[in-house]
Symmetry: C2
């Protein structure tokens, strides 16, 4: 199989994994640093099992890593730069139809400023 076919398949996999609103939001939540499952459940306002499933998928694709402390499971991005890359996608969202572009601008504002990731002290 030619290398560009392999690469296309792998890239598509990544895109597919990120291609869900809940998961996009989870990654953006984790941009600011590690969080435990319950915190995510509350801040995303989603049922527990659902968050758990999304995390399990992200974990399977090595996009997040788990750290356990007692009964708390903390997750963090294994490649924090991925959050910035995702945000860059907003450039291709703007200018498309059926989009409230002020909402996009606001989100970009929110997500570009919070880059306090994984830099311990």
């Amino acid at each position: 199989m030619p290398s560009r076919t392999i690469a296309a398949k792998e890239l598509a996999t990544i895109f597919k994994v990120v291609g869900h609103p809940d998961r996009v939001r989870m990654i953006e939540e984790l941009r600011a640093g590690e969080k435990d499952v319950n915190t995510l459940v509350k801040s995303l306002d989603l049922p527990g099992p659902r968050v758990s499933q999304h995390l399990s998928l992200l974990r399977a694709h090595r996009m997040v890593e788990e750290r356990r402390d007692g009964r708390h499971h903390f997750y963090h991005l294994s490649q924090p730069e991925i959050a910035g890359w995702i945000t860059e996608g907003l450039n291709f969202v703007e200018g498309r139809m059926s989009v409230n572009s002020t909402a996009i601008a606001a989100a970009r504002e929110l997500w570009s400023t919070e880059d306090t990731s994984s830099e311990p002290t």
Copy 2:
């Protein structure tokens, strides 16, 4: 609906659209400039209707634009920079399991050098 929810939904849509190997390859093919459908069919080695369907989806999301000349339908990226953005995703592919990383490196080589897009003379 909060702006980050809207943005997450829109972003997820983009990711989902790009989240298919055929479509990744199509976008990378179009990076070098516009091509007609038959050329894509041959270079991707895919059945015609399938290419057409993928193009139709990309068109619906304003990622490509069509130009007709006789019986030929030419397509080009409406935002050529999107190809570079997709290639950046390779950074997050490398280092994951079950991936032949030399193939990824080769693909990056291929795709990063071909940036002769939409610059007419």
